[in-house]
C-alpha cells in the first residue's frame, strides 16, 4: 500500500504550479510516514530523550552530581526497589546517572549537527552555484577533511587541546567548554558529507528551466538560492543530518569511553560505560554496564531510524 502512495509522488504534476507540487511531496511523505510504525517508535523515543535532556528532574528528581547524592555504602549494589538500575562504584544511583547522562549526548549531537548543516549547506551552495575555481578549491578542501576518519581525527583534536585543569573555571563553564570542544572536533570533520550532497543537488537544479526563468526575470542569486535551490535540497539534507546526528552521539560516547571526551565530574553514558567495563565489574556488577548501554543505543537508534523513515517517505527511489 505504501508503494501506491509513493508512486504518485513520482508522477510530475502541472509544472506551472511549483508550490502545489512541493506541498504534495510533503503531503505524500506524511501519508507514508503516518503508516510507518518505525517512524512512530523513533518519534516517541526522540521526544522522550530530548525531554530527558532538557528536564531530567522529571524522571529522576535528585541530581546525582550534587554533593551527598551518592553513598559509598551502596557501591555496586544490584537493582532493587530503591534503585531500579542498582548503584555504581561510588554508590551513585545508576538510574539517576543514566537519566542525567542524556543531556551530554543530546547536546553534543544537536550542536554538532547544527554546525555541520550550517557549514556544509552554505559552502555547498557556494561551490555548486559559483562553480569554476571556487568549486574546485572548496571541493579539494572538503576532500582533505573527508579523508580523516571521524574517530581518529576526534582523538587528535581532543588530545592536542587539553582542557585547562585548575583554571578557576566553574564546573558548569568547564562542562560547556568540553561539550564545545567535542562538538568542534566532530563538526570540523563531519561537514564534507553535507557539503557534497548540497553541492551536487545545486548543480543538478541549476541548469533547469525554472531557474533560468527566474534569472531571466531578474531574480538575484540570493533569491534563487533561497526560493528554489534550498527548498529543493531540503529533503536529502534533513535525512542525512538526522542519520548523522545518531552517529555523532555514538562517536561522542566513544571518545568519552576512551577517556578524552567528556570527563568526570561530567555525567555521560560514555564515562559510565567506560568505568563499568573493567573486567572485574562486569562480573560483579553487570547492571552498571547494561543500563547506560541500552539508553545510549536506543538514542542512536531513534535518530538513525527517524532518518531512514524520512528517507523512505521523501525519496522512494532510494528504497
Amino acid at each position: 500500500m505504501t508503494d501506491i502512495a509513493t508512486e504518485e509522488s513520482l508522477v510530475p504534476t502541472d509544472p506551472a504550479g511549483g508550490d502545489d507540487r512541493e506541498a504534495s511531496l510533503w503531503g505524500d511523505a506524511w501519508d507514508v510516514l503516518r503508516r510507518n510504525p518505525l517512524f512512530w517508535i523513533s518519534a516517541v523515543l526522540m521526544v522522550l530523550f530530548v525531554v530527558m535532556a532538557a528536564v531530567p528532574q522529571l524522571f529522576a528528581p535528585n541530581d546525582p552530581s550534587a554533593p551527598g547524592a551518592c553513598d559509598l555504602n551502596n557501591a555496586r549494589l544490584g537493582p532493587s526497589a530503591q534503585a531500579w538500575f542498582g548503584y555504581d562504584l561510588q554508590g551513585c544511583d545508576v538510574y539517576a546517572l543514566t537519566i542525567w547522562g542524556a543531556r551530554s549526548s543530546i547536546l553534543v549531537g544537536l550542536f554538532t549537527t547544527l554546525v555541520t548543516v550550517i557549514i556544509g549547506v552554505s559552502l555547498g551552495v557556494i561551490a555548486g552555484y559559483a562553480g569554476k575555481w571556487v568549486d574546485t578549491l572548496l571541493s579539494r578542501v572538503a576532500d582533505v577533511f573527508f579523508a580523516i576518519p571521524l574517530l581518529l581525527g576526534g582523538i587528535i583534536f581532543m588530545y592536542t587541546f587539553p582542557t585547562p585543569t585548575n583554571s578557576g573555571l566553574s564546573e558548569t563553564a568547564l562542562y560547556f567548554l568540553i561539550v564545545f570542544k567535542v562538538t568542534l572536533a566532530m563538526a570540523i570533520l563531519g561537514w564534507p558529507g553535507l557539503f557534497r550532497l548540497m553541492r551536487s543537488s545545486v548543480m543538478q537544479v541549476k541548469p533547469q528551466e525554472y531557474i533560468q526563468a527566474s534569472r531571466a526575470l531578474g531574480g538575484s542569486p540570493l533569491r534563487i538560492i533561497r526560493r528554489h535551490i534550498i527548498p529543493n535540497a531540503f529533503a536529502p539534507v534533513l535525512v542525512v543530518a538526522t542519520i548523522d546526528l545518531g552517529g555523532y552521539i555514538a562517536t561522542e560516547a566513544t571518545l568519552s569511553f576512551l577517556g578524552i571526551g567528556l570527563q568526570d565530574p561530567a555525567i555521560s553514558w560514555g564515562i559510565a560505560i567506560s568505568s563499568a567495563s573493567q573486567l572485574g565489574y562486569i562480573v560483579a556488577a553487570p547492571h552498571m554496564l547494561l543500563f547506560p548501554s541500552v539508553f545510549l543505543s536506543l538514542t542512536v537508534l531513534a535518530f538513525i531510524m527517524m532518518g531512514e523513515s524520512l528517507r523512505d517517505a521523501l525519496d522512494p527511489k532510494l528504497r
Binding site: 582533505v144 588530545y159 567495563s277 554496564l289 542512536v300 531510524m305
Partner: protein
C-alpha cells in the same frame, strides 16, 4: 585505464598534503607547547624537551618545519616518545596482532554481511528481509564499545564460549573480538548488498536471463550478484579507517596488545609523540587503501574509468 590511474594518483597528492598539514598544524603550530601535559603526570624532562625540539626542528620557520616533518614521515620516522622508544618500532611489534584481528573481522564482514544481504535481497518484503533489516538497524545503533562489553559479558563470562580476554593474541582468542569489530560493518554490508541486489534484480539483463530460461540460482548468482558486488567491494575497502578506529576500542576491551591498544595506552599515559605518530601513520595508510580501492573500482567497473 592508464589515464584514470594517473588522474587518481594526482588527485591523491593534495589530499595527502592536506591531511598531514592539518594534523601537523593541530599539534605543532597552534598555541600552547606541543609538550604541554604530554609526558605523563609530570612536566617533560629537559633532556627530552631538547631532543624533541631538535627532532621536530622547532627552531626553524613553520613551512620548513612542516616539510622536514613530512620528509621524516615518509622515511618512516614517527618520532621517539619520552620513554626513548621509536614509535615506529612500537607499532611494528604490534602490527601482526592488529592485522590478524582485522583479517578475522573482514572475513566475518564478507561471509556474514554479504550472506545476510543476499538472503534479504532475494526475499524482499518477506519475513526474512524484515528480520534482517531490523537486526542490522539495531546493530548499527550500538557503538562498538557497547557491543564489545556486552559480548564479553554474555559470550565470555556467562556462557563461557570464548576466552574473555585476548592477551596472547592467538587465533582462538581473537575470534570474539574480531566478530565484535566486524559487527557494525556486517550490518552496513548486509544493507548495501540488499539494496544493490534488489536494484540489479530489476535490471533488463536479469529479465533477459530469465527469458532465456536460466534458473533462479543462475540469474541471481551469475548475473545479478556479480554486478551488485561492485559497491560492496568498494565499501569493504573503505571501511578500513573505521576498522582501525574500532580496533582501539575492541583491543582496549579485550586487552589485545595491538596498535589500537598502544594508541589507547598512549592516550591515557599522555604520551603525545606516540598518539600523533600512530594516528598520522593510520591516516596515511588509510589514504593509500582508499586509492587502491578506487583503482580496483576502475577495474571492476570499466564505466568508471571512462568519464
Amino acid at each position: 585505464m592508464g589515464k584514470y590511474i594517473v588522474r587518481r594518483l594526482l588527485q591523491m597528492i593534495p589530499v595527502l598534503l592536506g591531511t598531514t598539514f592539518i594534523i601537523y598544524m593541530m599539534v605543532f603550530v597552534l598555541p600552547g607547547s606541543p609538550l604541554d601535559g604530554k609526558c605523563g603526570e609530570r612536566p617533560c624532562p629537559d633532556a627530552f624537551v631538547k631532543k624533541f625540539e631538535e627532532e621536530f626542528n622547532l627552531d626553524k620557520p613553520v613551512l620548513l618545519r612542516y616539510l622536514l616533518y613530512l620528509g621524516n614521515l615518509f622515511r618512516g620516522n614517527l618520532g621517539t616518545n619520552f620513554y626513548g622508544n621509536s614509535v615506529l618500532d612500537e607499532l611494528r611489534q604490534r602490527f601482526p596482532t592488529t592485522l590478524e584481528l582485522a583479517l578475522i573481522a573482514v572475513f566475518f564482514i564478507i561471509v556474514v554481511g554479504i550472506g545476510l544481504g543476499v538472503i534479504a535481497g532475494i526475499r524482499k518484503g518477506r519475513f526474512a528481509d524484515h528480520l534482517i533489516t531490523v537486526t542490522t538497524l539495531i546493530l548499527i545503533s550500538m557503538p562498538v564499545f557497547v557491543i564489545g562489553g556486552l559480548a564479553q559479558m554474555v559470550f565470555g563470562l556467562k556462557l563461557g564460549w570464548f576466552p574473555v580476554t585476548a592477551t596472547d593474541g592467538t587465533f582462538n582468542q581473537l575470534l570474539l573480538p574480531g566478530m565484535v569489530l566486524a559487527s557494525l560493518y556486517i550490518a552496513y554490508v548486509a544493507r548495501l548488498t540488499r539494496t544493490s541486489l534488489i536494484e540489479n534484480l530489476r535490471a533488463d539483463y536479469v529479465r533477459t536471463a530469465k527469458a532465456k530460461g536460466l534458473t533462479r540460482g543462475r540469474q541471481v548468482g551469475l548475473h545479478a550478484l556479480r554486478n551488485s558486488m561492485i559497491p560492496v567491494v568498494t565499501y569493504i575497502g573503505l571501511s578500513f579507517g573505521g576498522l582501525m578506529g574500532g580496533a582501539i576500542v575492541t583491543e582496549r576491551i579485550f586487552n589485545i596488545n595491538g596498535i589500537g591498544f598502544f594508541l589507547y595506552r598512549s592516550i591515557t599515559q599522555r604520551d603525545g609523540v606516540s598518539v600523533v605518530g600512530t594516528i598520522a601513520l593510520i591516516v596515511i595508510v588509510y589514504l593509500f587503501v582508499n586509492l587502491l580501492v578506487d583503482l580496483l573500482y576502475g577495474v571492476l567497473d570499466p564505466r568508471i574509468s571512462l568519464d
